[in-house]
Amino acid sequence: MSLSATKFVHPITTPPSTRSSDKPLFSTFFGSNHTKLRFNKPIVAAQRRSSSAASTSSPVVAVSDVVKEKKLKSASNLLITKEEGLVLYEDMILGRFFEDMCAQMYYRGKMFGFVHLYNGQEAVSTGFIKFLKKEDYVVSTYRDHVHALSKGVPAREVMSELFGKATGCCRGQGGSMHMFSKQFNLLGGFAFIGEGIPVATGAAFSSKYRREVLKEPGADEVTLAFFGDGTCNNGQFYECLNMAALWKLPIVFVVENNLWAIGMSHLRATSDPQIWKKGPAFGMPGIHVDGMDVLKVREVAKEAIERARRGEGPTLVECETYRFRGHSLADPDELRDPAEKAHYAGRDPITALKKYLFDNKLASEQELKAIDKKIEELLDDAVEFADESPLPPRSQLLENVFADPKGFGIGPDGKYRCEDPKFTQGTAHV
């Protein structure tokens, strides 16, 4: 690693390399002895180029490789159908356009505080969450807008939440970093890193409890916990890996390794940067996948989620990805090397999927443009809705502090404080 006087430069080819340009796109993984992710064949770069993709039933291949081979495959050899392709595209476009709109609105003074945008990482969110049922749980971090959108929370509600309006998904009380939705089973939205992982473990525990203690038929909800590379040095991560593997909880730990924790490079913070290796240390499969390729993410997600649903236990998936913008809208993003940014901009997941759809004749330019337009209109409507929504009134101030408002106690007059309707406005002293 060369150190220049003014900034740290990470040449792409520096060992130990975790970046997929240097090694087979799909690395062999070390599962525990008795559990294996079922893939047809371990894919090695050399093998892929020589044999045709048609020989294996559903090979995991890079989008770029397929394009290079310029082979027209029959529909049955493709990884996705047209409908699925359009769903994936629409979801990723929604995520991308929404985040761009957030940036605009932030600079116009419509939202404040810390806003963390997800540009560039859409493949991970779309690839995983589109495989979930509505009852499955998703737990995220502060970079949660797109997880919320992928899970189904309407763009209107997310936008109003960001504007701090009463019609937001959390009534304006949570904000950018605390997106919750009971209807869509989004369990947050956590500001401190690592905080959500135990909550996700609890949701998975709940699922197992319902199946084994309450004997509810069909209680097979899976929980996905999304977090970043910085979190993988945090104690809560390891404690939860241990517990999840110990009790075979139906959870998938998805690491969105975008190489940077604000300004701290993953390579400078971690003794062994290969996060997927930490899974087998706890007795669960650890997988490394190219997180800029939605189809590959999807294949891995399918296996991991189905494994969890069958009750075989957790999986650790490390998605190599990159954020195109800074850590948050307050981050000037001057530390990262422009060459690195350009490299990943060339691997934009949306462009890659578009190319795949065109080259496999799954969609036409017009269809995709129609989706783009539809999303733009949706977002304009969302912004308008958020703009016109009312701000929370003063009476909302103390409303949700306690589920049972008797928790505010008994006042000097003998009545419960919550019996006074004005109480929720707050007082100078409680």
């Binding site: 947050g188 473990t201 409890y209 203690v213 404690e239």
Partner: protein, 421 residues
């Protein structure tokens, strides 16, 4: 629907006090279902039998010391006679079934009853399952309910408390046991950020009906780190309730109330109180989480206390009564929020307040309570509020030093004498 019933606190080894009543028979007043300890004899409606049953309370008149159990049964309410009705109530009480047990057994009983009643109630903590709990509060439960319902966790407080919170958000009702309250310092992140806040930041979408419990307080030479009082650290967290139990009767009642509550509740137990013996009713009862308990009514001074200090106070009360004072002792029980009504009524009567607590001096429960009373009842005070708390020192190992860190009965007596001059 729940039947709520206040029984009688029987004589305990530490003191002669029992829960006391005031003169009158009162119907449950402001609370929907809960019935205040301080309101005296109580009517309870049983939804099944539509019977009126009332519980009487033992009354400790000044000068009356330890009673034998048989004496209990013969005691009539002397202040304000009820005549035939009083006799009726008294006879009910004799016929009313009780059983005697220790405090940790009372906690277990409460826990077991709630686990029986609701299959979503589960326990998680270190050594709660096969070992039966380090203070035997969960003994036998793992054999009865299985390893998943009484979950032995690895030593990862932050994560298993967070796991409990996640489970609570998704439909279960977990009880997280900290082997020692001090260990919950490791779980502070989850307790403060998630437990207290998630109901609010989710806009009310998710409730967190979790109970976090464990023994704290100064024990017998356990050393500094095992003798911590965390109530002062947790009291600022919005969104949680804190209660402290002190007798087997209120331990069981508060445990059940905490489990049934939709709010996250932290239940503080005390290491030295686990072997207290008392008779508690056979019938099911649940106490209110927000109310204080009148331990001994009096006229001269209000003494507010909780947990183990209740017994030091009652010991001091014996001495004070001999010296001619008439202290009113209230066990505040609810550390957050304070029951300002019970406390206020008492202050208005006696005009003098002494707070006796085991918390540290700085930023403790006593400090908050002093502020709350001064704000609300300043006009009724004839003297400044005196707060006796533990010394601001890590609890030393040496027995003599340890004794001097907590408030002793002699100090309470001299504080009262000074206040009542």
């Amino acid at each position: 629907m729940a039947t709520l019933f206040q029984g009688v606190g029987a004589v305990t080894p530490f003191s002669a006090s029992s829960s006391l009543d005031s003169n009158k028979l009162l119907l449950p007043s402001r609370k929907s279902l809960s019935i205040s300890d301080s309101r005296g004899s109580i009517f309870v409606y049983r939804s099944d039998a539509l019977n009126l049953k009332a519980a009487t309370r033992l009354q400790l008149s000044p000068g009356h010391q330890k009673r034998s159990p048989s004496e209990d049964l013969l005691l009539h309410q002397s202040r304000g006679s009820f005549g035939a009705f009083g006799l009726y109530l008294h006879c009910l009480r004799i016929a009313y079934p009780w059983h005697e047990l220790l405090l940790f057994e009372a906690l277990r009983e409460g826990l077991e009853e709630e686990m029986e009643r609701d299959p979503r109630v589960c326990v998680m903590g270190e050594d709660v399952g096969h070992y039966g709990g380090s203070y035997k509060v969960t003994k036998g439960l793992a054999e009865k309910y299985g390893d998943l319902r009484v979950l032995d966790t690895p030593i990862a407080e932050n994560s298993f408390t967070g796991m409990g919170i996640g489970a609570a958000m998704t439909g279960l009702r977990p009880i997280v046991e900290g082997m020692n309250m001090g260990f919950l310092l490791l779980a502070f992140n989850q307790i403060s950020n998630n437990c207290g806040m998630l109901h609010y930041t989710s806009g009310g979408q998710f409730t967190i009906p979790i109970v976090i419990r464990g023994p704290g307080g100064v024990g017998r030479q356990l050393g500094a780190e095992h003798s911590q009082r965390l109530e002062s650290y947790f009291q600022s967290i919005p969104g949680i309730q804190m209660v402290a139990c002190s007798t087997p009767y209120n331990a069981k009642g508060l445990m059940k109330a905490a489990i049934r509550s939709e709010n996250p509740v932290i239940l503080f137990e005390h290491v030295l109180l686990y072997n207290l013996k008392e008779r508690i009713p056979d019938e099911e009862y649940v106490l209110s989480l927000e109310e204080a308990e009148m331990v001994r009514p009096g006229e001269h001074i209000t003494i507010l206390t909780y947990s183990r200090m209740r017994y030091h106070v009652m010991q001091a009360a014996k001495t004070l009564v001999n010296k001619g004072y008439d202290p009113e002792v209230i066990d505040i029980r609810s550390l957050k929020p304070f029951d300002l009504y019970t406390i206020g009524c008492s202050v208005k009567k006696t005009h003098r307040v002494l707070i006796v607590e085991e918390c540290m001096r700085t930023g403790g429960i006593g400090a908050s309570l002093t502020a709350a009373i001064t704000e609300n009842f300043h006009d009724y005070l004839d003297a400044p509020i005196v707060c006796l708390s533990s010394q601001d020192v890590p609890t030393p190992y040496a027995g003599t030093l340890e004794e001097w860190t907590v408030v002793q009965p002699a100090q309470i007596v001299s504080a009262v004498e000074q206040l009542c001059q």
